[in-house]
Symmetry: C2
Subunit: 96 residues, 2 copies
């Protein structure tokens, strides 16, 4: 199933930047980073639940916001992209 | 139908900040801002197509990225939220 993960964190603080890097790192082998704070994970249910548990441990629930959008298995026609496509490395730096 | 709109723009430049404000403004009466750069629009097809046209005119396709996720009509169970819920005003400032 495809799940879109959007993570709203202030990167104006060092701690916020660190949490975004950690989220990107946790997503490294399980999900694709499609925007600076948006990831897409195409996983089976149990793998996703494990990833979700990791992400919820990383985020600061008092300051950050995380949303999961469940697109299901037939997601290819449910996604549309415009503009540039960035490649991100797991450390969160944009690879141009 | 519910559409999630995620807009990746560098807000380190004045122009980027301006475009994000314009996107937020265009979404003002049609969609809800749920994160800094994520909006949810629950609209009929023609209203959405109009909004989409406006958004694509605002974005800079050479530097920004915009993704649309079509969640359909039965979207309530497809969205999950963790952490804070921010209220945003149309100018993009966080209302705490």
């Amino acid at each position: 199933m495809m799940v879109v993960i959007s993570y709203d964190v202030s990167t104006e603080t060092a701690d916020g930047k660190k949490r975004l890097r950690k989220v990107a790192k946790a997503c490294e082998s399980h999900a694709q980073r499609v925007q600076n704070s948006v990831f897409e994970a195409d996983l089976d249910y149990s793998s996703f639940m494990k990833l979700k548990g990791e992400l919820l441990k990383i985020m600061n629930k008092d300051t950050d916001s995380m949303r999961f959008y469940y697109l299901g298995n037939h997601w290819q026609r449910k996604v549309e992209h415009f503009g540039i496509k960035k490649g991100y490395n797991p450390e969160g730096t944009i690879i141009v």
